[in-house]
């Protein structure tokens, strides 16, 4: 890792190492806050912006990407070999991945039909996960939490 970063002109520091480790240990999609809290448990002197900047750096060197589901919080997703979509649970905010190879093929075709040069795809299903759809009869009326209250 240290070598890898060096080739890109970045240095390794204890804080960076801890942040990177913590991020790669996780399998799910963290927000800056979540990672900050996790990292703080190991070293409480680390600043928020250091975590933020390192998460950006991880994206910059191509090891993660930002995911934005529209709830105002940016999460960071490991870049895996396989492209995937997200099931986002409106209730518990969990992100579940699923395979999209078939869909990507269709999208690539669509883009080319429209002379659009694609850089990335985003495929997402919002709804209620298995657990949440059980005890959520009343809430699932078609409006998202956010749209729900209108002052």
């Amino acid at each position: 890792m240290r070598e890898f970063l060096k080739t890109k002109g970045f240095k390794m520091t204890p804080q960076r190492e801890l942040i990177f480790r913590s991020f790669f240990e996780l399998t799910d999609h963290v927000s800056v806050d979540e990672l900050y809290i996790k990292v703080r448990k190991k070293d409480s002197s680390i600043g928020y912006s250091t975590v933020w900047r390192n998460l950006k750096l991880i994206c910059k060197v191509g090891l993660a990407e930002e995911v934005n589901v529209g709830d105002g919080i940016t999460r960071y997703d490991h870049i895996t070999k396989v492209p995937h979509g997200h099931l986002f649970c409106i209730n518990c905010k969990k992100l579940i991945e699923f395979n999209v190879e078939q869909i990507i093929a269709i999208l690539a075709q669509t883009a080319s039909d429209k002379n659009f040069a694609p850089e990335s795809f985003k495929i997402e299903i919002q709804g209620y996960c298995e657990e949440c759809s059980k005890d959520n009869k009343s809430d699932s009326n078609g409006f998202s939490q956010k749209q729900q209250k209108l002052n």
Copy 2:
């Protein structure tokens, strides 16, 4: 429209009428700011929050929905009969729609496989539109504007 709103317990006002009209006149996806500017040209006394609240209201009564492409700006999309995806141009920020019926079918299947109760789908391709991909050789290096500069 006035009648329609009345049935839902909302009143019609001159400001609301202007905002609604301005929104429905447009075919593309506006942000609050954009609509605010447009509306201001007709009536410069209208406040930002009035525009914001009315846009939310339009969503609430089911005539539009929020679209979030991850650049930090919420845009509002007319709800049309046909479900559609978005081509988002990273350069000029334009949103172009495309048909996704085929894909929705696959997604519905995916959700049901995972016992996930879907409420909505989001299908998006980010990249460069026809015009922007011409004069954008230098810029299109795989990083988005935002990720580009990292302090």
